[in-house]
């Protein structure tokens, strides 16, 4: 590379609670380049970018901007150095107009000190026109498609004087033409000299737009270089890392068992929720664990919620044990034994209530009858808490005092008090350590052995390879490929999903 670096980060190390998320990572960025940052889940991409955006002030290492050492101690400091981040999910304030979003916190004022709406609209229209966005800037932001919202966010970053833009998974929820539109804006910005860091799961997008690529794995540098020196395959190989995995414990390949002959427990037909998941027809048999793999926003997680009745469905049918299951009705789903374990325990555990109340909630009539008393409730809750290995198995303790893994066990305990036919899991081990993970998955296996049909939706290939009997990959809301009865690797999965 010929031009001097705009930004250099040397020996960046970040620890969360003693566990290193990044170890001695090097990263540099030249002016006016698009730099791709790739890696699997947990490789440290987001952490590295958060360091640059000032969101992780406790990093170790040295960062230089234009040759000057800087300490990025807060998002405000990062912004004042010209580093702006465009987040994947949080794209502006929906209720405010496009113009207001663009000038958030920096509205032009009249000499009376009031907001100068006319100038604001004019400048907003002009600045967006430079990015080839032509919308009515007076309309609320939420009325615009996602790509426009992202472009507004980019314009906002540029408006605040950013020289470096960090784009976190900008294309994951975009349709291909929308992604092309984003790329053309990114090229235009590159020509204007704006350096961009592009984080993505989609390697094709990296090859299409990036000048250089840095690959991270397990919090360490693997390789970096001009995009031309990579192929899709070589990038994937480096992300997955064959040698390292032989030593590591995580499963990177699995031999899927032959197709199950047991009766079909759950079948869906053309299940659709527009723009989230479309045309999903799948079956799960008793005692089988069906894995659904995809990146964030691929629709498989929303699908699992919809099966539980907890998310909307536009059309299509769900059949459980040869009887149709009404959609969008959790109560019926639960009574039919179709139960859901969410990634976010905040959605399934009432933290301010005692553990016992959380455990008996779903099957209160069956377990407690018409008159609830504390001793009887404790007697119902304690054995099942011990069975799932909740620590401590104290029914009187507030659920919010438990760790994430133990809260998830409480969710399992809740379902174990009733009949389970289909167990729907959305990233059930998110944010747990290895030990808690295996304990929770052990509970899943016990249910599976008892004849329960399991659907496991995840963005972690390792989890699916370790536990699924059959894996379907999702890509932008649609089923893409099914793996069954064959040997499958992490590589294959990621390949099929992106």
């Amino acid at each position: 590379m010929s031009s001097p670096a705009l930004l250099t980060a040397e020996q960046i190390t970040v620890r969360f609670g003693g566990v290193p998320a990044l170890e001695n990572v090097h990263f540099d960025l030249a002016p006016g380049e698009v730099h791709g940052l790739v890696g699997c889940n947990g490789a440290g991409k987001s952490t590295l970018m958060k360091v640059l955006a000032g969101a992780v002030p406790h990093y170790e290492g040295a960062i230089q901007l234009d040759g000057q050492p800087v300490k990025l101690s807060s998002p405000r400091v990062a912004l004042s150095h010209g580093i702006a981040m465009v987040y994947q999910e949080m794209s502006g304030i929906g209720q405010l107009s496009v113009a207001e979003n663009l000038f958030l916190g920096r509205q032009p004022l009249t000499r009376w000190g009031t907001v100068d709406w006319k100038t604001m609209r004019q400048r907003a229209t002009e600045e967006l026109a430079q990015l080839d966005v032509h919308v009515d800037v007076r309309r609320p932001l939420r009325e615009n498609p996602l790509v426009v919202r992202q472009l507004v966010e980019i314009a906002r970053g540029l408006n605040s004087g950013a020289k470096i833009l960090i784009l976190d998974e900008p294309t994951s929820a975009l349709s291909p033409p929308e992604a092309q539109r984003l790329f053309s804006v990114m090229r235009r910005l590159r020509d204007r000299g704006v350096a961009q860091i592009f984080i993505t799961h989609f390697l094709e997008d990296v090859l299409a737009i990036c000048d250089r690529v840095t690959v991270l794995r397990d919090g360490q540098n693997v390789s970096a270089g001009a995009t031309a020196s990579f192929t899709r395959k070589s990038m994937l190989d480096q992300m997955v890392g064959r040698q390292a995995d032989a030593a590591g414990q995580e499963t990177v390949e699995a031999m899927l068992p032959p197709a199950s002959e047991k009766p079909v427990r759950l079948a869906t037909k053309k299940l659709t929720h527009a723009a989230v998941f479309e045309d999903v027809s799948l079956t799960v048999r008793a005692g089988e664990c069906l894995g659904l793999y995809g990146f964030v926003g691929a629709g498989h997680q929303e699908l699992v919620q919809a099966l539980a009745g907890a998310a909307p469905v536009d059309s299509g049918t769900i059949v459980v044990d040869e009887r149709p299951l009404p959609t969008e009705n959790v109560t019926t789903a639960v009574s039919r034994g179709v139960v859901f374990v969410a990634a976010d325990r905040g959605r399934t555990v009432t933290r301010r209530a005692p553990i016992a109340h959380n455990v008996t909630l779903a099957h209160l009539k069956r377990t407690m009858g018409n008159w609830l008393t504390r001793p009887r409730e404790d007697a119902v809750a304690r054995p099942v808490l011990e069975r799932v290995g909740c620590r401590p198995p104290d029914p009187r303790k507030l659920a919010g005092l438990l760790s994430g893994g133990n809260q998830q066990k409480v969710v399992f305990a809740k379902w174990l008090l009733g009949p389970i036919k289909v167990l729907l899991l959305e990233e059930p081990t998110r944010g747990m350590d290895v030990h808690a993970k295996s304990e929770v998955m052990q509970l899943v296996k016990e249910q599976q052995a008892a004849g329960v049909a399991v659907i496991l939706a995840s963005t972690e290939p390792e989890l699916l390879l370790a536990y699924a009997d059959r894996i379907i990959t999702f890509r932008r809301g649609r089923m893409h490929k099914e793996f069954a009865g064959e040997k499958v690797t992490k590589h294959d999965l990621m390949h099929a999903a992106e």
Partner: protein, 367 residues
């Protein structure tokens, strides 16, 4: 799994004193002690009777409101629903087929008619609450807005019904509001207090021992979690608001009975007083935390404060203080002594504010 063996070690450490939970009781004790010191003869059965009688209406209204707050909603129409129901009751009572104008022939009304005259307003209040609940869950708007509108609707109805006239109420209600059983010396147990206690006991049993009660707590504690566990949270919200309508109406009827008639100036402060009672007892405005027991403490605190302030005789208090005589004579002429009546709401507000802020901080520190 290796779960069984370390349980003994992991058993929770000896429980520390939870000041956040105790704060309401301590406030009550402090208020009682303070008034005991500044009001002559405050510690008497007579004062207790007074507090019970004054608190009964508030306690009934606060009971329904506790349900609503527990499931993380609010009902701003409590006062006006109470007023409308009482007005409806009065208007029905003065119909020719009942007691006639001014309740003249009240003595000859049949029991069936009396029951009808009381039951219809209660039913109307339940329907009002049910409607607020339905509109809240179907519109997705906060119950704050819906019940605010309902407050005006019911006030309007009350005005229209009464044409701003005063109406008599059934004799049963006047007796319920005024009569008391003489028990010990000058301790009189007001009937209204017995009714309030009955309502609260039922409410307590429902909340602590029935599935509905549990669903109320869980709906308020984490609505998403309750929904994902199969609880029909919408129905719970509707039921709580209906219940609140019922207790509001009951409070309104008892209050009209206590005042021997119904007119538009009643129940104006009922809503805010009831909210103050529930929150003073330590029930969370954000749902899922609280109980009828706490509401009892809250009602007692609030009523004691109010009664105590009414019994406070500042002139006598100033005279009894060990301060120089010239100060005394000056102070006795000062407006804050002569016009103390006007200062009472101010003092009530200050004490309430202090208590609530201290509770809030203690709870915040605990969490």
């Amino acid at each position: 799994m290796a779960a069984a063996e370390p349980t003994a070690k992991l058993a929770s450490p000896p429980r520390r004193v939870d000041w956040g939970d105790l704060a309401p009781t301590i406030s009550l004790a402090l208020i009682v002690i303070t008034f005991g010191a500044i009001v002559d003869g405050f510690f008497s059965l007579g004062t207790l009777s007074l507090i019970l009688q004054q608190g009964a209406v508030l306690a009934i209204a606060a009971t329904g409101l506790t349900f609503v707050l527990l499931c993380a909603e609010i009902d701003l129409s409590v006062g006006m629903v109470a007023l409308m129901s009482a007005c409806l009751c009065g208007v029905l009572w003065e119909q020719p087929w009942a007691a006639g104008p001014k309740g003249a022939s009240g003595a000859t009304v049949s029991i069936g008619t009396t029951i009808m005259v009381i039951a219809i307003p209660l039913m109307v209040a339940i329907i009002t609450g049910w409607l607020s609940g339905k509109l809240t869950v179907s519109s997705g708007l906060p119950s704050f807005i819906i019940t605010l509108a309902m407050m005006n609707i019911t006030l309007g109805l009350a005005r229209f019904l009464t044409r701003s006239e005063k109406f008599a109420v059934p004799t049963v209600l006047t007796r319920l509001g005024n009569d008391a059983w003489k028990l010990l010396g000058d301790f009189r147990l007001p009937r209204s207090a017995v009714l309030a206690a009955f309502v609260m006991v039922i409410a307590h049993l429902v909340l602590q021992h029935t599935r509905f009660g549990r669903y109320v707590y869980m709906t308020g504690g984490n609505r998403d979690a309750a929904r994902l566990a199969g609880v029909r949270t919408d129905r719970i919200v509707v039921a709580c608001l209906s219940l609140c309508g019922l207790t509001a109406a009951l409070a309104g009827l008892v209050n009209a009975g206590r005042l021997n008639s119904v007119s538009l100036d009643q129940n104006a402060e009922l809503l805010l007083d009831a909210v103050a009672c529930v929150v003073l007892g330590g029930t969370s405005l954000f749902g899922g935390e609280g109980s009828i027991g706490r509401t009892v403490i809250g009602v007692l605190t609030f009523t004691t404060l109010k009664v105590g302030l009414n019994l406070t005789n500042v002139e006598r208090l100033v005279k009894s203080w060990p301060i120089p005589t010239e100060w005394k004579t000056a102070w006795l002429k000062a407006s804050w002594v002569t016009q103390f009546d006007l200062l009472r709401p101010f003092l009530l507000g200050v004490v309430l504010l202090l208590a609530l802020v201290i509770h809030g901080r203690l709870v915040k520190r605990r969490d």
